[in-house]
Amino acid sequence: MELLVQTMVNGIIQSGFYALAAVGLVLIFGVMKVVNFAHGELTMVGAYSVWFLHAQNDMPFLLTVVTAVVLVAMIGLLMERFLFRPMTDSPLGGLICSIGVLFVLQVAATLVGGEGPSKQVPPPYEGTLVLFDMLRIPYQRLFSFAVAATTLGLLWYFLTRMRIGWALRAVAQDREAASLQGINSNRMSMIAMGVGAAMAGLAGALMAPLTNINPHMGHNVIITAFIVTIVGGVGSLPGAVIASVLYALFHTFVTTYFSGTIATISGLVIMVLILIVRPSGILGKRVTE
């Protein structure tokens, strides 16, 4: 029983990171039709920023999180302007550019951090919340989850309640129709990429005190983000959030009761199955051929 509840909590906390990373990927794909393969690396840059500024140079933690988000958003904007925009007509072109960026960012991280062991960031919020004498949640995780959930809430507000959010969704649905209505699709791409990258950066910054930081940490992030994206339905943001929670719970439970590798393998298999049975994902619209 204890283990069940603890696993539940572990899974829900994990879902916050998954959702932050996946929502950005979905947003970028939705608006720009580009698969950003470097999305995991954007997360990695967020984590490295916190390590470099906070752990190495004693900048206050919250300030470094903000800096990391801004930095990664700027990388995203540069990618949009100089790589994805010239490649608008070739979806594969954008993907390949992002693979190039992936390598460049990994090397940049190695140059900043040097080779050697994974980097560690001492958690700024120490201690563990103990509930009912059985449930244990480190404050650092609680903090990360709270920030992730708040951010996702703000994004939802932005997309559904603000004009510009409406415009963004219009472009995602039909780029041509949107531009006929006078929506500047380039501007929307910039916003999507900026927001998407910022969220990846935030995910990385929040993860930093909780994980091994190394130049290759983005690999696991992108696999998870792909799975969540497909399961949730490509282009569906609510789908991505729900899929994040489901997948995080699934993965955490399988890891707890079986094994981590089995959890990832079955996640990948489920993703392929969903591609076959319902390519539009659990919440996506039916794709018309």
């Binding site: 039709k33 550019c97 190039g100 690999h219 792909f226 392929v272 591609l275």
Partner: protein
């Protein structure tokens, strides 16, 4: 007719050059040459898959399937290399054929991601199921080929073996592309709706390209591991897949020789710049971006581009 003779002559000259080349190389460069020749087959077979316009991310894993098949057959069941080599291709091809059912229900982005997921699931299985795949350390001490008492542990004999098999495979791949089937594959890519309207089953042709390409890369996988003697799951991860993509794109995916050009030039540059070490991948990344932005048809289009530049500068030249 003359042009055809010239091409043939060129190929013969290149082959002749390759036959004597290893004797002028250092030991570790001979190894490098073997791996390079194998990688030529990897890229050429990948190009066949992409002919229909579907870029898969599972090609590296297909190579691994060939490698594991041949490794396990020779090591655990005492198969001869000469039998396990074609079987490696068959198993990789069969796997691809099976995967076609789910994967080709999708296209484009979905196919890309789906193939990536299927590949990772296979690769993670090699890691997870230590029996029989050996986990992360894979399977080692694989036997060398045996033939007429030739010592295939030495690089030069193995190089000739590799060269012969790869050349044969390339000839077949080339013939496929120039045949009716090849033309249909092109049509499936560029004119899918039209092709379907004249009764071509695009699913069949996508599957055919995917299966055939996988078969040849399976053979490439077997060729490589019997020289290294060890097969490990990490050789066939997304890292290697990305290199295959880069070779193809930088060389030029529109023509047969463009792809081959890409792998040769990049591999040699790579070996020359070993000194750069940690920043090497970044150079790769930058080259990739620059090519896709400024030379999307790859190296092979470079002479033409330069020629048209020159022509553009002096319009009179176009009359000659």
């Amino acid at each position: 007719m003359l042009a055809k003779h010239r091409t043939l002559m060129t190929i013969v000259l290149i082959l002749a050059g390759l036959l004597i080349l290893p004797h002028y190389l250092k030991y570790h460069q001979q190894d490098f040459l073997i791996f390079l020749v194998v990688n030529v087959l990897v890229v050429a077979s990948y190009r066949l898959v992409t002919l229909t316009g579907e870029w898969s991310l599972i090609h590296a894993v297909m190579m691994g399937i060939g490698a594991y098949t041949s490794g396990m057959l020779t090591k655990f069941l005492d198969f001869s290399f000469w039998i396990s080599l074609p079987l490696a291709g068959v198993v990789a091809g069969l796997t691809a054929a099976l995967l076609s059912f789910p994967l080709f229900r999708t296209t484009q982005f979905y196919f890309l991601i789906g193939s990536f997921a299927a590949g990772e699931a296979i690769r993670l299985s090699w890691i997870h199921f230590i029996r029989p795949f050996g986990g992360t350390s894979g399977i080692s001490a694989l036997p060398s080929p045996e033939l007429l008492g030739i010592d295939f542990l030495e690089p030069i004999p193995y190089f000739y073996l590799t060269l012969a098999i790869v050349t044969a495979c390339l000839v077949i791949l080339y013939r496929i592309e120039k045949s009716r089937i090849g033309l249909t594959l092109h049509a499936v890519h560029w004119q899918a709706p039209l092709a379907e309207s004249v009764g071509i089953n695009t699913w069949n042709y996508r599957t055919l390209a995917f299966t055939t390409g996988s078969m040849f890369v399976g053979i490439a996988g077997a060729l490589k591991v019997h020289y290294i003697g060890t097969v490990t799951p990490n050789q066939y991860g997304i890292g290697f897949m990305v290199f295959i993509l880069i070779w193809l794109i930088v060389g030029g995916y529109k023509t047969f020789y463009g792809a081959i050009l890409g792998v040769i030039i990049l591999s040699i540059l790579d070996e020359m710049f070993r000194e750069l070490e940690v920043i090497r991948p970044a150079v790769y990344g930058a080259v990739l971006i620059l090519f896709i932005l400024y030379l999307p048809d790859g190296l092979e289009s470079l002479p033409q581009k330069i020629a048209s530049r020159i022509k553009g500068a002096s319009p009179k030249g176009s009359h000659s």
